[in-house]
Amino acid sequence: MKSGPTLSPLKLSALLALLLLSLAVVSLGIGEVFFPPWQWPAALGGPESAAYQSILWDIRAPRTALALVAGAMLGLAGAVLQGYTRNPLADAGILGITGGSSLAAVLAIYSGFAVAWPLGLPIAALGGGILTTLLVVWLAGRGGDVQTLVLAGAAVAAFTAALTSLALNLAPNPYAGMEIVFWLLGSVKDTSWNQVALASPFCAAGFLLLLGTRRGLQALALGDDAAATLGVNLSGLRLRVIAGTALAVGPVCAAAGSIGFVGLVVPHLLRPWVGHDPGRLILPSALGGACLVLMADITSRLIPTPSNEEIKLGVLTALVGAPFFFALIFKMRRTLP
């Protein structure tokens, strides 16, 4: 693997931020009504301004915001987890966080909890994410061993997937099953500011925690022992990685369902541009993830379907992510001795 052209992290982040801004503007313009920015002053001042205002502010803006936050958190978590496990095939899925959040959300829907209290769904999913992460930590034991952590995560992810399937199997009413299946596909459609506001504080906390792992991840490139002697608190780092990921990804899972592959694809694409430095990858991955999810969301709005139903975001990311996975494996096979 050659470290190809390298941009300074600042320049890379600036470029990605610019891309993100333009995508956000496009996202605000695309929908049932094509509503580009240059038409905004006219429409917002004209006769149907209330309707256009409602569309922009109540429908498109929260959708764009959630897509942005979801993508940023997933990309960020993916980069940090790959740096921490020193494995380019890691993301929030392997630590079982998305599995735990999905399971908790499914249980919330079934028990009627989510229906009785509309905000119950996101909070339950967040709780589920945190619980599974704690379970993973407990399984992995003390010490900073990465391999045990990955195994524990895989075991927990498999377990939560099995429980989710069990819940679907035992569905008391067929509509719960259908709702859950659609929710699990992952979508940011029909988001309200309510949902964004609920997810944001946790995501912000997770974001800050994960940004702080930068130095530790760079030192970990040399191995656990060398990193410890460079002043990195290994157990503290692990706590920060796990707590940060749970806080960042849990509420995203709750609000938008299961969106996969973002945490896998984005760090991988950006890694050559930061010279494979795991620490410098963090912020660009967040920005890149936001761009990727926004792009996918815009595409989902543009693809026409016979039933007028949008293609779910999670489906699109999986459709793009899986072939990417194949390409990745082929590339890795070629570089092996």
């Binding site: 050659k2 030192a219 490139a221 040399l222 191995g223 022992d225 060398a226 002697t229 002043g231 010279g275």
Partner: protein
Amino acid sequence: MKTGLACRGLGVKLGNRWVLEDLDYTLESGGIHGLIGPNGAGKTTLLRALAGLLPLKKGEITLDGTNLASISRAQRAREAGYLPQNGSCHWPLPVERLVELGRIPHLESSDILGSADRDAVRKALEQTDTWDLRHRTVTELSGGERARVLLARVLAGCPRVLLIDEPLAGLDLYHQLQVMELLQHIASEPGRLVCVVMHDLSLALRHCTVLTLLDRGKVLWTGAPADLLKTSRLDRVFHVELQAFHAECGPALVPVRRLDA
């Protein structure tokens, strides 16, 4: 200015086994301290304990009289550098970037390298003869080149205490001598303490000022290399009949045959 690292009554347990038991060991600046002994003697464990990586079941380690445990992690990172055995780099970083990682304990929170940092990196690269490799990717280097780059990383941190585990593994003869000369030079700087775990007895005898013989978790002998030759301990400890040849540069120990108990 003298630096002193001392262990008293050190006890380290890995799993259910006492790897080090009731160990007393003192190191001082001025010359390389060599740690030798057969496989499984506990050399790496002792070095890791000195680096602060292992919890001590018994005893204490002091640096200049202060208990190592009471020194903050960050301070310890600045004072001591540890180079593990068979080190590796998990990501294909450019060589220069890897060596820059050695400056982490000295960086402010902004992670930007100052001129002092860059000078230290440059010096480390030049000392280990890896300056020409600085734009190459670590994973593309040969084993020996990589070993030197990892050594440069430790040196870049300019620590007072250098704890190095088998620095010569994978190096060709030229670079073996070069590294030992480099370490000797560093050890001669005032206030610098260098402790090296070695397998090559000849080089150990030649370049180390103090040799410590370890076996089964206990210190069997400490002293000057010349005195070590006079004892017959080496044969018994290594289970090998050794023959000493005295050349101009120093003594050379050749293993003649295995001794079965």
